[in-house]
Symmetry: C2
Subunit: 225 residues, 2 copies
């Protein structure tokens, strides 16, 4: 998606080894490699599953996704993971109320992000609006997690993906079943079973695990509600 962008910097491959069901190793923060003479923005690349920043790191920067997908998530002490959001091209992430990141950000796919020094950007009306939308998004997510069944969650997720994609009928999932499960507060098996069931219903068609056609959008809307 939006592959036409110039990718000037062959920067930063953070040394984090991502091990699921354990704490992520803290990502080596891109700060160190940034050119502080051009404080406004700097473009960085991350390979799949690399950490961009870790919960508790100093929140000096925030980011904009230029290409690829980024997840922001949090871990419980026993390794359970909750994904807060998937960020795609154009999305901002890494906004913080305090001085530290409250979430961990990692690359879902190989991706390119632009970083902005926090204090260099005015608290403009735009950013305020963005923060408000972030709050709304988080509230929707809480509603999804709190009061919906597995089918309802998966249906909502698929429709959400479709809404983001250019082609609304066939969607390309950029993330693993585990990512989806951790976003929806389910297990990988339940996600898989639910998708299979929707396929049997003729509600969707699964071309390959990551490539799905929404055959009966209306049925999905009904499930979601």
């Amino acid at each position: 998606m939006s592959a036409s962008l110039a990718l000037p910097v062959g920067a930063v491959l953070a040394p984090a080894t991502m091990v699921y069901r354990q704490q992520t190793v803290r990502a080596h923060h891109p700060v160190d490699r940034l050119d502080t003479d051009r404080p406004v923005t700097c473009t960085l690349q991350f390979n799949q599953d690399r950490g961009i920043y870790g919960e508790g790191d100093d929140a000096e920067f925030f980011y904009k996704v230029m290409s690829g997908v980024v997840r922001t998530c949090r871990f419980l002490s026993d390794g359970r993971r909750q994904i807060d959001a998937f960020h795609v091209a154009g999305d901002l992430f890494g906004f913080e109320a305090g001085t530290e990141y409250s979430l961990t950000a990692e690359a879902v796919t190989d991706c390119t992000v632009a970083s902005f020094r926090r204090q260099s950007v005015d608290v403009s009306r735009d950013l305020f609006a963005y923060a408000m939308r972030g709050m709304l998004r988080a509230q929707e997510h809480a509603l999804l997690l709190g009061r919906r069944s597995a089918v309802e969650k998966v249906a909502a997720f698929l429709l959400d993906c479709a809404a983001r994609a250019r082609d609304a009928a066939v969607i390309e999932l950029e993330m693993t079943r585990q990512d989806i499960a951790d976003y929806l507060g389910l297990t990988i098996e339940t996600v898989s079973r639910t998708l299979s069931m929707l396929e049997k219903n003729k509600t969707i068609a699964i071309f390959s695990p990551r490539r799905i056609r929404l055959c009966d959008r209306h049925a999905l809307e009904l499930l979601k509600a």
Copy 2:
């Protein structure tokens, strides 16, 4: 809480009849009764369970709780309710990204709120910080709802209440079990059973349904994690 405030207006008792397991009747919006010559702020009182505003209403105002407790929530079409947050004295609510409220606000207890005309208030650094904290809160809530068991949810809730109360040991729950259940994404029975279990554990003592002592705070912290 903070009962020393002046309560100048005996205003607005919204005609909404709150019926659980059905859509709330849209609250009669306080707009109509506001003195538009003093656009900055106006103090309003609401009786228990009255609507303050409804999802979809024009978001002309936002509010600050002066006394009492307010809940913001959303309903699914079948009547399931998800409470987004409980707002106590000092908290702001009713911020919106768009022009309409995305949640419904209702009085949990009799309460007093100050209203602010939206455009009369500058998008100041303070409000921005508040929006960011709201986002953080919503994310924490999503983590709670997505990946935690009933005991963990209840433990987290109790600690949260204690953190807000002056006296950290004995907490006064201002809301019903149904409210708690809808906040935690559980049923009223599960909340009740879990509290009973914690009492049998000697982790808490239940003086009356709404009055609880946290005997073993450490145990609760462990559960929460």
